[in-house]
C-alpha cells in the first residue's frame, strides 16, 4: 500500500461529513454483514470506498467512539468524521448519538453518572 496521504486526499477534498451530527463521543459499530448485500458506490464519479473507510469497518466490529476510532487509526478527527459520515449514509455502520441532557431531566442523567462513579470509586 501507499504511504501516508494528506487528509484532503483521503476525504476526496470534502471537509464536512454528509450528516453533520457526529460528536467525538458518538458511538460507532460496523453493521452486521448479513443481508446487506453489496456496498453501493460512494460517489457518482465512482470513487468508492477507500482503504481508510475499510479500516474503520474492520476496527468497529464492536463499539467505539469517534474519538477512539481516530486515535486507533492515527487519523485527524475531522477526517474520521467525514469517513464515518460516508459509512453511515451507506448503512455500513450504526451510530449511537451522545446522550442528551434534554432527553431526560438533567438531574436524572447526572444521578446516573454519580451513581456509576460512586460504585467505581
Amino acid at each position: 500500500m501507499s504511504g501516508p496521504v494528506r487528509p484532503y486526499v483521503i476525504t476526496g477534498g470534502r471537509s464536512r461529513p454528509s450528516r453533520n451530527v457526529l460528536a467525538l463521543e458518538s458511538l460507532v459499530s460496523t453493521a452486521p454483514a448479513a443481508g446487506l448485500g453489496d456496498l453501493p458506490d460512494l460517489d457518482a464519479d465512482g470513487t468508492g470506498l477507500n482503504r481508510e473507510h475499510l479500516r474503520i469497518l474492520e476496527l468497529c466490529g464492536e463499539l467505539l467512539s469517534v474519538a477512539e476510532i481516530a486515535a486507533y487509526l492515527s487519523l485527524p478527527l475531522g477526517v474520521v468524521k467525514v469517513l464515518i459520515g460516508d459509512l453511515w449514509d451507506l448503512g455500513a455502520v450504526h451510530v449511537r448519538p451522545p446522550v442528551q441532557q434534554a432527553e431526560r431531566l438533567p438531574s436524572t442523567l447526572l444521578e446516573e453518572v454519580l451513581l456509576g462513579l460512586r460504585q467505581l470509586r
Binding site: 500500500m1 487528509p7 484532503y8 486526499v9 476525504t11 477534498g13 470534502r14 471537509s15 464536512r16 460528536a23 467525538l24 463521543e25 458511538l27 460496523t30 452486521p32 454483514a33 448485500g37 453489496d38 456496498l39 465512482g46 470506498l49 482503504r51 473507510h53 475499510l54 479500516r55 469497518l57 474492520e58 466490529g61 464492536e62 463499539l63 467505539l64 467512539s65 474519538a67 477512539e68 481516530a70 486515535a71 486507533y72 487509526l73 492515527s74 485527524p76 478527527l77 475531522g78 477526517v79 449511537r96 448519538p97 451522545p98 446522550v99 442528551q100 441532557q101 438533567p106 438531574s107 442523567l109 447526572l110 446516573e112 453518572v113 456509576g116 462513579l117 460512586r118 467505581l120 470509586r121
Partner: protein, 226 residues
C-alpha cells in the same frame, strides 16, 4: 467501484489494521494493543472536559480516571483560526495540529463517560465549539504557582456558558492560598466551586469528579421549573 460486501471489505482491510499505528497518550506506552471496546449494551455516552493551561496536569488527571490507557488523537486547525473544517490542503494556509488526550469510564452497562483533556490556550479556541457541544461540564485545573495562566481559559468557559469547577492541583512548592483569596484572584462567581486534588492519585481524582458532578446535579435541581 466497490462491490464487496462488508465481510470482504473487512478482510481486505485486515492487513492495514494489523499495521495500525496505535496512538496512546503516553509516548512510552506506544505499544500496539488491541482496541478496548465498550460493552455492546452501552446505548450512548456523555462527556466532561478537563482543561487548563500548559503542563497543569490534564493528561495526568485523565489517566488517573480512565479505565483504558489514555488515547491521543489529533485535530488539524488552520493557523488563521478558520476552524476544523478546512482540509482543502491549500498551501497558503498553515495548519497546526492539536493533540487531545482522552479517557473513558463505563458507568454502567448502558452509559459511558468520556473525559477529554482540552488545551486551554487561546489559540486552540476554534476547537472548543466542537469539544464542548453537549458536554456535561468542564473541570478547570489551576496551578496555584501560576494562577494568571488560567485567566484565558476561565474567561472562555464563562463566555461559552459551560458549567465548570476549579480544581487546584497540589504541586510540592504550591503556595496554599485560602479559598477566598483564590476566588478573588481568579475573579470567580460565588457559585463556582473551588476543589482540590492530586491528579496523580486515582482516589483523589475520583473524589474530584464525584464532587464536580454533585455540584452539577445540585445546580440542575435548582434550575428545574417548579
Amino acid at each position: 467501484m466497490v462491490s464487496a460486501n462488508f465481510a470482504e471489505a473487512a478482510r481486505f482491510a485486515d492487513a492495514d489494521f494489523a499495521e495500525a499505528n496505535f496512538a496512546t497518550a503516553d509516548p512510552a506506552a506506544a505499544v500496539p494493543t488491541r482496541p478496548e471496546y465498550l460493552p455492546s449494551t452501552v446505548q450512548g455516552a456523555v462527556k466532561i472536559l478537563i482543561t487548563g493551561p500548559f503542563g497543569v496536569g490534564k493528561t495526568t488527571l485523565v489517566g488517573s480516571l480512565s479505565e483504558i490507557a489514555p488515547l491521543r488523537t489529533e485535530e488539524t486547525m488552520t493557523a488563521a483560526g478558520a476552524g476544523v473544517d478546512d482540509l482543502t490542503g491549500r498551501p497558503d494556509k498553515t495548519t497546526t495540529t492539536v493533540a487531545l488526550d482522552f479517557g473513558r469510564i463505563t458507568l454502567n452497562p448502558r452509559l459511558a463517560l468520556y473525559l477529554f483533556g482540552t488545551p486551554g490556550q487561546q489559540r486552540f479556541w476554534p476547537l472548543w465549539d466542537d469539544l464542548s457541544r453537549g458536554a456535561l461540564g468542564a473541570i478547570a485545573l489551576v496551578d496555584a504557582r501560576r494562577i494568571e495562566e488560567s485567566f484565558d481559559v476561565l474567561g472562555r468557559l464563562e463566555e461559552q456558558r459551560i458549567p465548570f469547577a476549579i480544581a487546584v492541583n497540589s504541586f510540592p512548592d504550591s503556595p496554599s492560598y485560602p479559598e477566598e483569596e483564590l476566588r478573588v484572584a481568579l475573579d470567580l462567581l460565588p457559585e463556582v466551586p473551588i476543589l482540590r486534588c492530586d491528579a496523580r492519585d486515582r482516589r483523589a481524582a475520583y473524589d474530584l469528579l464525584i464532587d464536580f458532578v454533585s455540584h452539577l446535579h445540585s445546580t440542575s435541581v435548582l434550575e428545574l421549573p417548579q
